[in-house]
């Protein structure tokens, strides 16, 4: 098993090394190295998953990294239900994104092409390290490593100043989160005397509630940075400057979920700190709502998806925050499929429209690019929570967990966000793929992407459609499987009872309502009755009869929400407060730095004066203590 795990981790590193060192040789053939370097681990992960399903576990130290006295940190791997699901997801999605990249990146320079695959493989290596680590320090190595790769990949098109700046912003914001993680890690070491997961969690109960709260909140600070939660989410929308497959892999499917994974992994600590759990759930819910409202008004294809990612990550944090860790991870799992898919379709659209991202210039594309369009619809239905697609199962699991756990407000927010999610996703679909083309020349040049790009779309679409059904597998499905590691959540969150079904119906209704509303708003005004009425006849007729209700609904709810989100949330909260705060800290730092320069007069007598006064100060400090 050790060999298999090492293979999973090291083969991507090998791929990255080959493409990194020999980029002048591999050039346009880089994918011949890079794709197998990730496909083989994907297959191996499946084998590992199968073995874990049979009850095997692996937790072993390879060698002692820091082997001193009582301060010992190993390099070692932990394979259990949680990490098995994670590596399978990561490698599977990554494989298809690598394949897709072959088509997407074919306009790059040969060396850039090799460099791109090198970074991509390196990223997967760090992500797998993060997931498989059996101690906090190794996890932190992966944690920082994915941040570094993200920086490199966001700034990949560095000719664009915005891309380079976005990369910088991502890295610096991430570092702010990381410092929380690092201090949390130090506190764990201080109070538990170990950084090994197994030992730390086994002795977690010794922690006092206060210390546990502090530690978990610090860890969560790290998670907010990596997983783009309030207040550190600002980098993620900007990160869309990177190549689209990168957005798909890193900023939707894998890296950003690291925070959720980390919280789930450290659930033993979080269980000790109810307050932290509340904070996690509340921040998750607030982020979910806020990001969804911001997605309502955006016209940039990728940014909508980015906000949607932030919002969905919020859901996952709600899940882990209310204690249904397995549900959170389950949503992470399904989200990787449908959000990865949607980003790839967005990339396909961009590819066809020469980089155009403005929704208002699109329309009717489904006729030109049917595979892209329909796979996107599958993804959107999945995220909107329409059964039996993937998103329905996991989102329902989270919302049910929140409701059963007594978090009624969070449940309500989550449910309302589900409505918004469905609405903005279908707004996007209607504006992009349906209706009349608004920019004729763009439309005329549009074309379906080559098979190397569409096949991954189809695979992921099928995945988005069916992976949710794993919830129905025997022995409690995927949730039951994960619970073997994560522990049974609230007893009340069982799947029996009428209440579950009522909740389920409510959330489905919300999703459907969102879709329908989007339809009326964006199709009704520019009807394309032949195509639309055929595709959506039942919904169409149903809502048509309640037209005035919808009108009122629109006037009283959607307009305020849209307007509010535009002016209050997006303009004020996002741009001024949060962006302002994050940028302001940077500006303040530079200002302080500027001020400090002035003590550096370059004049020797001044320096001598500083030394003498410093000597006095140092002496008094020493004397007074």
């Amino acid at each position: 098993m050790m060999v298999l795990i090492l293979a999973v981790v090291l083969i991507p590193l090998l791929g990255a090394t080959i493409n990194g060192l020999f980029c002048w040789f591999t050039k346009r053939k880089a994918h011949i190295i890079a794709v197998p370097a990730i496909a083989i681990p994907a297959i191996v992960s499946l084998i590992l998953l199968a073995r874990v399903l049979q009850g095997e576990r692996f937790d072993q130290v390879l060698y002692w990294w820091i082997p001193l006295g009582d301060f010992r940190v190993p390099i070692g791997f932990l394979l259990d239900e949680l990490s098995a699901i994670m590596i399978t997801t990561v490698t599977f999605v990554a494989t298809w994104i690598h394949v897709y990249s072959i088509g997407y990146m074919d306009h790059e320079t040969p060396r850039g092409y090799a460099k791109y695959f090198c970074y991509l493989n390196l990223f997967v290596f760090f992500m797998l390290t993060l997931c498989l680590a059996n101690n906090f320090l190794l996890m932190f190595v992966g944690w920082e490593g994915v941040g570094l790769c993200s920086y490199l990949l966001i700034g990949y098109w560095y000719e664009k100043a915005s891309a380079a700046n976005a990369g910088m912003k991502a890295f610096v914001v991430n570092r702010i989160g990381d410092f929380g993680f690092m201090i949390g890690l130090f506190l764990i070491y201080k109070h538990l005397g170990t950084l090994l997961f197994s030992q730390a969690f086994a002795s977690a109960e010794q922690l006092s509630v206060g210390v546990a709260t502090l530690i978990t909140l610090l860890l969560f600070t790290g998670a907010t940075g990596k997983s783009a939660q309030i207040p550190l989410y600002v980098w993620l929308p900007d990160a869309m400057e990177g190549p689209t497959p990168v957005s798909s892999l890193i900023h939707a499917a894998t890296m950003v979920t690291a925070g959720v994974y980390m919280v789930a992994r450290t659930h033993a600590l979080f269980n000790m700190a109810p307050l932290s759990m509340e904070v996690v759930a509340s921040i998750g819910a607030a982020t979910a709502l806020m990001a969804a409202t911001m997605a309502l008004v955006n016209n940039d294809l990728k940014r909508i998806l980015a906000y949607s990612t932030v919002s969905q990550l919020g859901y996952m944090f709600v899940g882990v925050g209310v204690g249904v860790y397995a549900a959170g991870i389950f949503h992470l799992f399904t989200h990787a499929f449908f959000k990865g898919l949607m980003f790839l379709t967005a990339g396909s659209v961009m590819h066809a429209l020469h980089g155009e991202l403005n929704l208002q210039k699109m329309g009717g594309l489904i006729k030109k690019m049917p595979i892209t369009g329909w796979t996107f619809v599958v993804g959107a239905l999945a995220i909107a929570g329409i059964p039996p697609l993937a998103g329905f199962w996991s989102k329902d699991e989270i919302l049910a967990g929140a409701f059963m756990g007594g978090h009624r407000i969070i449940w309500a927010v989550g449910t309302f966000t589900a409505f918004l999610t469905a609405f903005y996703m279908f707004r996007l679909i209607f504006l992009t793929f349906f209706g009349e083309p608004r920019e004729k020349h763009l439309y005329d040049h549009a074309h379906e992407s080559p098979p190397v790009m569409t096949i991954p779309l189809i695979v992921l679409a099928v995945g988005s459609a069916v992976v949710g059904l794993l919830a129905l597998a025997p022995h409690g499905g995927i949730v039951g499987f994960l619970n073997r590691t994560l522990g049974e959540a609230h007893e009340a969150a069982g799947h029996e009872g009428g209440l579950t079904y009522i909740l389920m119906v409510i959330s489905v209704a919300m999703g459907v309502a969102g879709v329908v509303l989007a339809y009326f708003m964006y199709m009704k005004r520019m009807p394309d009755p032949v195509a639309m009425a055929r595709n959506f006849r039942p919904v169409y007729t149903l809502l048509y009869n309640k037209y005035y209700v919808d009108e009122i609904y629109f006037a009283f709810i959607v307009n305020p929400v849209v307007g509010g989100s535009r002016y209050a949330l997006w303009k004020f909260v996002d741009v001024i407060i949060i962006d302002g705060a994050v940028n302001g800290v940077g500006r303040l730092c530079r200002l302080v730095g500027g001020g400090l320069r002035y003590i550096q007069t370059g004049f020797i007598p001044d320096y001598a004066w500083m030394i003498l006064v410093g000597a006095v100060v140092i002496y008094w400090i020493g004397r007074l203590f």
């Binding site: 320069r597 370059g602 004049f603 020797i604 007598p605 001598a608």
Partner: protein, 101 residues
């Protein structure tokens, strides 16, 4: 009350501080260097007084070492000042202003 360690220490610290003051207020590199020698001389006075008060010659030995150090510093210092003078045409340390901030 005879003259004791106290008076010597005060004297030595005052000489030391006058040297330090010279470094802090003068701009002529050579005079600043003279002030550095003055500081070392101040320390020497203290070591000599300590040798006397402790009845151990060790302080005097240390003074010899300090003198050697002062001589070495003087050699290198004059070389640097000469070199500086050649490149800037003067020895005011306010001419050393290429590097700041």
């Amino acid at each position: 009350m005879g003259v004791g360690l106290f008076q010597y220490t005060v004297l030595s610290v005052l000489v030391f501080l006058l040297g330090a003051l010279g470094l802090m207020i003068r701009r002529n590199a050579i005079i600043m260097f003279l002030c550095m020698e003055l500081m070392l001389n101040g320390v020497n006075i203290l070591f000599m007084a300590l040798a006397r008060s402790k009845g151990s010659v060790e302080g005097q030995v240390i003074v010899l070492f300090v003198m050697a150090v002062a001589a070495a510093e003087a050699a290198i210092g004059m070389a640097i000042i000469t070199s500086f003078y050649r490149s800037r045409g003067g020895i005011g340390v306010d001419r050393a202003d290429l590097m700041k901030w």
